[in-house]
Symmetry: C3
Subunit: 314 residues, 3 copies
């Protein structure tokens, strides 16, 4: 693995999940693999889980870590080629990416969806430019449209908790007061599609995701019907893809409740966090969920990815 | 020691002070104790001394450190149970604390007094919720009403500089333009009350501290009378506890001057810093004080606490 | 070397450049030199290259690193002696510098030019006060008027790329929309003056630098004449020194273009970065330049300086 930007960079999904679970058993199994190597973490957007779990994953592998909050500690970057930079941007992504990679062995970068121009976001302008000009492997710490480290942790969690070889997994939209990206939902569909499972997507009309992610996925607008017999109910809000970036409804009837969970096959509630209680899901659902063990697996997912990149760079 | 939130978590005060002094002699005496362990430092309020001294203390013990500025790098947390989170808060303390503790072995957290609702502050809402939901030991890096790492460093300093077995220690209020918490003063009284000393508190009328901290402490409104024969003059501003959070006076006659220090038994001036010169104390007093060695002891106080927690977790 | 604030702290320039180049060959040649030592990095101004390169340099020497963004993570400092601190500043540089040095073995600090009061900036008020009160060696990570780590990296780069023993080096002013300090230009002249080279400075009238830096340097207002036969064209914007801090012109005819580079002796374009493309220099010039390898040398310049300080402190 050179870069880790989406599931397309993964050649052996089962092996990667297995590697993460092995690190969970023995976090220090490869404690010298990253010795003398430095991971640079570049944040263009706030982060809690991703920041701490990736940093700890690097420490477990013996790496050093440098954190850079680009907008606080640095300055605004220019992404347009050929532009005359006499405005607000002080440095071009060409130089910024190349320079950062002079001082790190691997770079993790968090970019984000502007939610204004669908095409800009879905072309992953920022991430792809960064990868183009960086001279070392790049890991996505969430990009405009995908969140692959989260999705890997999700599958690791499903692997741990699934009671059958072909669980029913439902990805359900939930209400939220703010416009959020589609990244977690897109990415989860991409990864779960390669997992042996029955995959169902449910959301109100208007919240259809991009076709590239829903191909072959069963889509229902009836949440309760979708949840029937589910082994996992993965819940997430996203803003509209078609009416790009808009909040079409905050319909509270889409909140996950104990009553709805009763429709499942004693199913597990999952969420990537942060989660707005009593908006996305009720307290009781969250309190009886596996969201905390799920977050723990972020650490081992990151460690498996870093480890594979370090091994391939040797 | 599991958590370190106040002196109530200390079973052997003399031993803890002694441990700090031993680390001062030999900072690397336990350099492998924290190997493979990570300290997470969460700041909800700015910090200089606490941040750097605790980080260095962890390094001396072989630990890794991750720093998270919650309000800059993260988002606003919800502390109310049962609330419908459709407003400004993006994550509940239940998840935030539990998640952070998935990636760290010990968590240090700095919270702060809102100085609006006395009961909220004095119940230590934020710190206690964090401790409840964190799954690893928690160290207070100053909370709404206490600053135990500072107080431990203060006693270490007093132990170093005291010329008799029962020194006279005066805690004096001093003027300040802004409304400050009572945390340092409360905490100092709590710790000094367990030290073999004559403890005197002096402040203008209206600046009485909460009774739980002043029980058995001699209180005088006459600063000069209080300072007579003192071996240590610990100075600090705090806002009113009774008229909660208010600045009742900035009376400059309460500033510590060389003339006032002349009343003491060749006493030492102490302050936790940061200190506003020529407001809290005059230049001459500060320049001839032990505030810098006192700040150095923050390092060894933190190291003693971390070391005890690491030992007890083994 | 005790401190590293300017070339005045360097006794053997050739040896220091050579040391940097040796670290480039073998970054881990002194990997235990800094073991048990901590570098504190204090930023009063944003930084990308300096932050990451100095941090990585410290890691290569086995040091720990603590980063403090003073204005974000801390509070405003007071620099005036004797002032009554009842305004916006919460701590005096006397205490701040002394305290920080209790927890670090070496301190790197970035200060900046206010560009309002020439005398304040050129007296290096902040840096010098910090050095006075710090109790450990201090490295400038760029100050109001100098940027010695950059200049050392520049000479390392020139050493690598020069084709003759006495190259022609041109320092050219370039347009920029904002008022920038003179630090990089001042410092480059200071260091290049001690290098075996023909040194030419070119800028529009009104952009004269302080005489202490231009003594013995050939100065031309004709950029094309200056660039003729140059081996290196070091480009940088700065605001006026005489009409202090003002932008007198943004004349685009001073931008470096391929046509101008054709006048040189197949010369190399250099810039400290960040660089505004198509304002300071055109895309084609930047794309064919050595600015990225130049930035890489920041790492080894910092490592050479840290290494010399560590050796002298032994």
């Amino acid at each position: 693995m050179k870069n880790f930007l989406s599931i397309d960079n993964v050649t052996d999904l089962g092996g990667l999940v297995e590697q993460a679970l092995q690190f969970k058993q023995n976090p220090f199994a490869s404690k010298d693999l990253g010795k003398g190597k430095t991971l640079g973490l570049i944040f263009m957007n706030p982060s809690l889980r991703t920041r701490l779990s990736t940093q700890q994953a690097a420490y477990n592998l013996g790496m050093e870590v440098m954190v850079m909050n680009m907008n606080q500690d640095g300055w605004q970057l220019e992404f347009e080629d050929g532009s005359v930079m006499d405005g607000g941007t002080a440095e071009h992504i060409r130089e910024a990416a190349a320079v950062i990679s002079q001082y790190c062995d691997i770079i993790g970068i968090r970019t984000f969806a502007g939610l204004k121009h669908q095409q800009n976001d879905y072309q992953e302008l920022v991430l792809n430019k960064f990868v183009t000009y960086a001279q070392v492997p790049v890991i996505s710490l969430e990009s405009a449209t995908l969140h692959p480290l989260q999705s890997l942790a999700d599958l690791v969690t499903i692997q741990e908790y699934q009671k059958s070889h072909r669980p029913k997994i439902v990805l359900s939209w939930a209400p939220h007061p703010r416009a959020l990206p589609q990244a977690v939902a897109n990415s989860f569909l991409q990864w779960a599609s390669q997992w042996d499972c029955e995959l169902v997507l449910t959301h109100p009309p208007g919240y259809e995701l991009a076709e590239e992610f829903t191909e072959g996925v069963q889509v229902l607008n009836d949440q309760e019907l979708a949840m029937k017999g589910a082994d996992f109910v993965y819940t997430k809000n996203w803003s509209s893809y078609r009416q790009y970036g808009q909040v079409l409804t905050q319909d509270p009837s889409w909140m996950i409740t104990p009553e709805k969970m009763d429709l499942t096959n004693n199913g597990q509630f999952m969420h990537c966090l942060p989660l707005r209680r009593n908006v996305v899901a009720s307290d009781e659902v969250v309190d009886n969920s596996i969201v905390i063990p799920q977050s723990k697996n972020r650490l081992f997912a990151a460690q498996a990815v870093l480890s594979e990149i370090l091994l391939d760079a040797q």
